[in-house]
């Protein structure tokens, strides 16, 4: 029997990963378990029995050579990898003892995760500034040549 699936749209900003984790946990409590992603913002859920899962998002851009080691560590620690969405790795683990499992267990490593994200957002921002400036200077030179043509006419 094939499980019923449901697609939902919800938008989260990159720095709202904790809110996204909470939302996914609430969905699982209602019996909607994340199964895959489509276009950013679209989540696919498998409908089944309610479960208490801890969802955790890691920001990690992995080289191919590092993938095995990375995923094996999570698997050995009991985390299920659900998928990847633009640099974000989605994991979940069932909450059994009432103790919430964590993938980052100290402040230093948590800070390092957000530093990686910040670096990426920084690069994105700089690229945009460069594109914007190029665009403006093109527009200015186009405007100047227009004026020259008008002056001749």
């Amino acid at each position: 029997m094939k499980n019923k699936t449901v697609t939902k749209f919800k938008w989260f900003w990159a720095w709202n990963d904790a809110v996204e984790e909470f939302w996914l946990e609430e969905m699982s409590k209602k019996g909607y378990h994340l199964s895959s992603f489509g276009v950013p913002g679209f989540y696919e859920f498998v409908v089944s029995n309610p479960k208490r899962y801890a969802y955790r998002l890691d920001y990690q851009i992995l080289y191919k050579k590092d993938k095995n080691e990375y995923f094996q560590l999570f698997k050995d620690a009991g985390w299920e990898h659900i998928g990847e969405m633009s640099g974000w790795q989605y994991f979940r683990k069932e909450v059994i003892t009432g103790e919430t499992p964590e993938i980052y267990t100290d402040t230093e490593s948590k800070v390092a995760k957000y530093k990686r994200l910040l670096t990426f957002l920084g690069i994105l921002y700089c690229t945009n500034v460069v594109l914007f400036v190029t665009r403006i200077s093109n527009d200015i030179s186009a405007g100047k040549s227009c004026l020259k043509l008008l002056a001749r006419a």
Binding site: R56, D58, Q72, F74, D76, I103, Y104, S109, A112
Partner: protein, 106 residues
């Protein structure tokens, strides 16, 4: 004290336990279990934290890859790593000794 090794101090609690565990060759999951045992359950090392510490320690040449078991990399302390760990242990011993002195008057 050697300047080049002292710059890694102090180690975080997680890094300290991970390096203690790597006195013998061990893969990631082995490290997680050993740290849990050694710290009597007081220090948990999640996979995200461990992956980061492995990367940092390997880049600083404090640990190295001795082999691979299936998909798991096996690490161990380098000579430099042993020196850094010894410095940290000395530091902690001093902290504990001075603490015991003060403890009496508290």
């Amino acid at each position: 004290m050697n300047q080049s090794e002292a710059k890694y101090l102090p180690l975080t609690e997680a890094t300290y336990y991970i390096m203690l565990a790597l006195a013998e060759p061990l893969h990631g999951y082995g490290v997680m279990q050993k740290v849990d045992r050694m710290s009597q359950g007081s220090v948990k090392v999640g996979p995200g934290t461990l992956y980061g510490v492995f990367n940092t320690l390997e880049k600083s040449e404090l640990i190295f890859k001795v082999g691979e078991d299936d998909r798991r990399k096996i690490y161990q302390l380098t000579e430099k790593g042993k020196k850094v760990l010894l410095l940290q242990i000395n530091r902690i011993e001093h902290m504990a000794a001075i603490g015991s002195e003060v403890k009496i008057i508290l």
